[in-house]
Amino acid sequence: MKTKLQQFKESYFLYSFRRDMVAMASFVVLVFFLVIAFAAPWISPMDPYDSANIDIMNSEIPPMWMDGGSMEFPLGTDNQGRDMLSTMFYGLRTSIIIGLGAVAIQAAIGIVLGLMAGYLGGKTDAILMRLADIQFSFPYLMVAIFMSAIFQVVFGAGSFEQLAIPLLTIIIGLSNWPMFARTIRASVMGEKNKEYVEAARVIGLPQRIIMFRHILPNALTSVMVISTIQVANAVMSEAALSFLGLGMPVTKPSLGSLIRSGQEFFFSGSWWITVLPGLWLVLFVLVINLLGDWLRDVLNPKLYKG
């Protein structure tokens, strides 16, 4: 008997990973990002969310390699005097939390509905897929505007600051579930006519068990691929919402709200407030997408199983 670790060492998955320079590099960068994001409170020079640390006199200091820059703020400060480096670490953290949370919500809704639509077929399928079409035809920005408007009426504008992260997670999560539902449905429809499903029915297993224990594990490869790409999409959505002022508040900036707060000062010469978090975001989304591409190629059985 081989152990799981040995199996993994000999797997095609690892083999193709080690041969693909792009995937390896992306993975290293991604791990670097994740470590930074989750270690942000310990490694950043200051806590940008604590207003006691912020001195307005320090605002718009350029990065240290430029005239007027100082070692105290290696990447300069924003318009409120926050250290850019620390704010970018914290912003990345917020973006990742919202991205992962949103994908978890999307996956939970999408997998359940997609499985039901694909396996039960007929009217259930028709209703669920039309629901997905309707959901898709709403731009998520419009949903976000509605929801934050409703939210502010119900809870009052003051509490928005504390609840911005869960709210954004839910908005982005709810608006993208049809992607998962459609992908899952397609793979379930391919699996459900295989004989092992009929064998499970002959045993007398209930539909619920057949769907979740027999069909779902065989449809999960497509979920893995789409999840990685959806994390990148969710991070982008969060940045877009924050950029429009519908996302994270200025006191707790994510990368998107940082870019937004900088664009007012862009033409007065303080380019770093916008450009640095922008590059940071682009690099993060890029490595996720590159890894997702590689994963799609590896998990595509047609490419190696013949």
Binding site: E195, Y196, E198, A199, A200, R201, V202, I203, G204, N218
Partner: protein, 340 residues
């Protein structure tokens, strides 16, 4: 169809049609006014047969003649459009999922393709334990393990391989595991849907012998679906011949092979190559098998039958019992037309 004892399984006038007409717009027709037209595949039409306890009934026919559909209707995977199915005297085609459960233990199925019939994500142990645990919730894991090991030995798979996944086995071994799954609940009745046709010829004999040994040991009754006539004679007590979803002839294996009555059966049997035969007496049928979407009128075989007369085009022949106990549905046999 009358029998003087209760057969284990009785299928009575079962009809299964599949609607393939699609949505509303696909059904719309404009010929002769606007109306909706449904397109159905008539997979099984008025099939009646019975299986006695302890026998092996083979169902033979060309591909697409409804053999597999019949098997799935019998096991409740499809609901029949009409007709009745009795198991041990109890009607089973109208049962709900929960009412079916006791019969699931008694009726099991072996599938055609051993590469598709085992869940690729489950180990042999998981595949074999699942039915046991589901039907015997109180079973301890030691009991379940013992039972799995016992059945694996029975089908000739080393119990040491219990933790492996299906892709680590060859086709023949997979089919043995698939048979083990069919046996693990100690069923009385097994439907085998072309269990050897996806295997190498060298393995086919092994699997067939295994199935026959298991029948002896466990007192099983088989409904054996196949298109391979050469194996039918060896393994079956009786044979049912299907053509276009209709039963042509149901007779004991010896009667059928020595003296086929229905014109289709004769043509089918004449296609078996025999060793040492100088001149092939192959009966050549004209035309193609019609599609099951548009069945021919009357006897479904009439447009290819060399003996067909006017009555065959108009009237669907009933299944008649002959003095030797065979059943044939043919006007010619019924009226004694000269058929040589």
């Amino acid at each position: 169809m009358t029998t003087n004892h209760t057969p284990l399984l009785r299928v009575q006038d079962v009809v299964k049609h599949f609607d393939i007409s699609g949505g509303f717009l696909d059904q719309l027709r404009f010929k002769g006014g606007i109306h909706l037209e449904k397109t159905t595949v008539k997979a099984v039409n008025n099939v009646s047969l019975f299986v006695n306890k302890g026998e092996t009934l083979s169902v033979v026919g060309e591909s697409g003649c409804g053999k597999s559909t019949l098997a799935r209707v019998i096991l409740g995977l499809y609901r029949p459009n009409a007709g009745k199915i009795f198991y041990d005297g109890q009607r089973i085609d109208t049962l709900t999922h929960e009412q079916w459960l006791p019969y699931r233990r008694k009726m099991q199925m072996i599938f055609q393709d051993p590469y598709a019939s085992l869940n690729p994500r489950k180990t042999v142990r998981q595949t074999l334990e699942e039915p046991l645990r589901f039907h015997n919730p109180k079973m301890t894991s030691q009991e379940a393990m013992d039972k799995v090991a016992y059945v694996m030995e029975q089908v000739g798979v080393d119990p040491a391989w219990i933790a492996r996944h299906p892709h680590e086995f060859s086709g023949g071994q997979r089919q043995r595991i698939s048979i083990a799954r069919g046996l693990i609940l100690d069923p009385d009745f097994i439907v085998a849907d072309e269990p050897v046709s996806a295997l190498d010829v060298s393995i086919q004999a092994q699997i067939l012998n295994l199935l026959m040994d298991l029948r002896e040991k466990h007192d099983l009754t088989y409904l054996f679906i196949t298109h391979d006539l050469s194996v039918v004679h060896h393994i079956s007590s009786r044979v049912a011949v299907l053509y276009l979803g209709t039963l042509c002839e149901l007779a004991s294996a010896n009667d059928l092979f020595n003296e086929p009555r229905h014109p289709y059966t004769r043509a089918l049997l004449s296609a078996i190559p025999k060793i040492g035969e100088k001149k092939a007496k192959h009966i050549k049928l004209k035309g193609e098998v019609p599609t099951p979407v548009h069945l021919p009128s009357g006897c479904v075989f009439h447009n290819r039958c060399v003996f067909a007369r006017d009555r065959c085009k108009k009237e669907f022949p009933r299944l008649n019992e002959l003095p030797n106990g065979s059943f044939v549905s043919c006007h010619g046999v019924e009226e004694g037309w000269p058929m040589a």
